[in-house]
């Protein structure tokens, strides 16, 4: 925040009124984020196509630009020049506004993500809740698209997407809730800062080097939460195996069926941007965000700018890694059926997420409470912080593993074993 004000003070005349400086500040940052988002989306499409082609013994786009990297731009130009078709039966305004309503909230998500050490556009105190709130708005856009198109497939797709968004939003938020308990706050900007140090123990061992590896994913609570969160992120971002709302082999393109040209492209951008934002969010919350070996060292050496750059690189590396994982999953598995999707959310993810919140509470109690808060039941005062973390890790690991095994066992489908018998 401070850094950006410095930048705009160079640009703006000293005597400019305060509100103008603020407005310019925000405009510049928003511009950077949105242009960055657009470039990211183009790269994402290219990476996805090339990577899937690799998995399928094909080459993928390799003609436009070196290695085909400009293919997305060519596609974008094609989209721009296509005819914009509005079905005669459609509700004109709803049809027109739907892609915008779908894209805008996703762009708003980018504002609160911490992109690097000191690189966050808006440090919102309730960042986690903000992400959840804003991402739920895009459901309205999908609903508008499905209803405004007056197409049965579009309506079915909209219904499916809303059912899916609602079902997966709950375990997604509860998975985040575990981490909120651990960090004691909902600010996204603070989360990476709390993930410094070494795996599991963070910076609780005095004298241990700050490797920037105290990621929550290395704790039992963070591991289970991270897995649940990533699965839910796949569903929220409508990636295979949860791409049910736009299942092309079933309901053509779902809510996008009647869209063409630029409006279709806006949906497309919205989807990829959402995927990337969710990948960044997973990285920030569970994979240490911009933390990584070297960041703390550079900052201590007084090279703040270099540390910020390195931290940005770490974050992008993690986010792209997660995105590529999404791509590989897409190439490897087919999609679930609607009922399977729902039962997966309600029968597997939700109970596990709830257990995980309980584990997180236990973790906090074991690591931060004094024995008075335990009602003198637990003599924890004499232990060093790292010892308490060890105990907490052991306890929560047992709880989470047990819960996972239990949920998997009670939900096991009756064995259907049709076998081929040679006649």
């Amino acid at each position: 925040m401070n850094r950006t004000i410095v930048i705009s003070q160079i640009l703006v005349i000293e005597q400019a009124p305060g509100w103008l400086v603020a407005a310019l500040n925000h405009a510049i940052i928003a511009g950077v984020l949105l242009i960055g988002g657009a470039i990211t989306m183009m790269l994402q499409v290219w990476v996805e196509r090339r990577l899937i082609a690799r998995m399928q013994d094909r080459l993928g786009p390799n003609r436009v630009g070196p290695e085909g990297i400009l293919q997305s731009i060519a596609d974008g130009i094609k989209m721009f020049t296509k005819e914009d078709i509005i079905p005669r039966a459609a509700d004109r305004w709803v049809h027109l506004l739907a892609p915008i309503v779908a894209l805008a909230p996703i762009a708003m998500m980018l504002a609160v993500l911490p992109w690097g050490r000191g690189l966050v556009a808006v440090d919102l105190e309730v960042g986690v809740l903000y992400i959840a709130a804003v991402s739920s708005i895009s459901g309205v856009g999908l609903m508008m698209a499905g209803w405004g198109s007056r197409n049965t497939f579009a309506l079915l797709g909209a219904m499916r997407s809303i059912a899916q968004l609602i079902a997966y939003e709950i375990p997604l938020i509860i998975a985040l809730l575990g981490i909120v308990l651990l960090t004691g706050g909902m600010s996204l900007a603070r989360m990476p800062e709390l993930q410094a140090g070494i795996p599991l123990f963070g910076s609780s061992i005095p004298g241990a080097p700050d490797l920037g590896l105290g990621w929550f994913i290395f704790t039992p609570v963070g591991l289970l939460g991270g897995i649940i969160f990533f699965i839910c992120a796949l569903a929220e971002g409508e990636r295979t195996p949860f791409d049910i709302p736009e299942a092309d082999s079933e309901i053509v393109a779902g809510y996008m069926t009647e869209y063409s040209g630029m409006k279709f492209a806006v949906f497309y951008i919205a989807q990829y941007l959402l995927n990337f934002a969710l990948a960044v969010l997973s990285a920030v919350v569970f994979l240490g965000g911009w933390q990584g070996p070297g960041v703390a060292w550079l900052a201590d050496a007084g090279l703040g700018a270099a540390a910020s750059l390195l931290s940005l690189l770490w974050l992008l590396l993690k986010a792209w890694g997660l995105f590529m994982l999404m791509v590989v999953i897409r190439a490897a598995v087919p999609r679930l059926r609607v009922d399977q999707l729902m039962s997966f959310a309600w029968k597997y993810l939700l109970p596990l997420a709830l257990v995980n919140v309980a584990s997180a509470a236990l973790w906090v109690g074991l690591t931060e409470w004094s024995s008075i808060e335990w009602g003198n039941l637990l003599p924890v005062d004499g232990l060093a912080p790292w010892q308490r973390i060890g105990v907490a890790a052991l306890v929560t690991a047992v709880i989470n593993l047990g819960a996972t095994r239990w949920v998997l066992r009670i939900n096991r489908a009756p064995a259907a074993a049709p076998v081929v018998v040679p006649a």
Binding site: V126, A133, V140, R150, L155, I162, I166, M186
Partner: protein, 188 residues
């Protein structure tokens, strides 16, 4: 500056609220309702009540309105015919509106508004959480019970739906086979 933004948001709220009422198509009315909720959320943000603002958007835009939309689309055939609401003579409605306005205005005028710069305890999430878990524990738990009952109700309805599901070919054959077995058992 803040006043300008406030006037913009307030007029947005009023305009969309009016449109909710006068929209002839129910889905459009629902969409305007969403706009109203969203603008109210923005108003909270302007008051620096971040948590309430975000919660407003999450609950009202993200959940309540979407459920309203969902219900509308599921229950109404999406063919476009003019809604036939000719509900009584217009003067009854007018009288009702005037009466309601009178009640509201007198109520608002009668409340001793505490216009201070004090940091109100409910504006921040931790205080809100503490308040819910201490002073308002009983209402909080009662609300949880209400939600649980609603959840169980939904499960019951879903169970009934499942019971009347269309049988598949395999179900039919199994039923036939079962009937045949029963008939065989009955004959000797």
């Amino acid at each position: 500056m803040v006043t300008v933004i406030f006037i913009a948001i307030a007029s947005l709220i009023i305009a969309s609220a009016v449109l909710v009422v006068i929209s002839r198509e129910i889905v459009r009315a629902a969409l305007w309702l969403i706009a109203t909720f969203f603008a109210v959320g923005a108003l909270y943000l302007l008051l620096e009540a971040e948590f309430i603002g975000v919660a407003q958007v999450l609950v009202y835009v993200g959940a309540v309105s979407i459920l309203i939309l969902f219900a509308i689309m599921l229950t109404r055939q999406h063919e476009r015919h003019e809604p036939a609401w000719r509900a009584g003579p217009w003067w009854i409605a007018l009288a009702g509106v005037i009466g309601l306005a009178a009640v509201l205005i007198t109520t608002i005028g009668a409340v001793p508004w505490r216009l201070t710069d004090d940091d109100l305890p409910v504006s921040r999430a931790p205080q809100l959480g503490t308040a819910l878990m201490r002073e308002y524990l009983l209402p909080f738990q009662l609300a949880a019970i209400v939600l649980l009952v609603a959840l169980i109700g939904a499960v019951v309805i879903a169970m009934e739906e499942r019971r009347r599901r269309t049988p598949t070919l395999a179900d039919d054959i199994a039923a036939q086979r079962g009937a045949a077995d029963r008939a065989e058992d009955g004959t000797p």
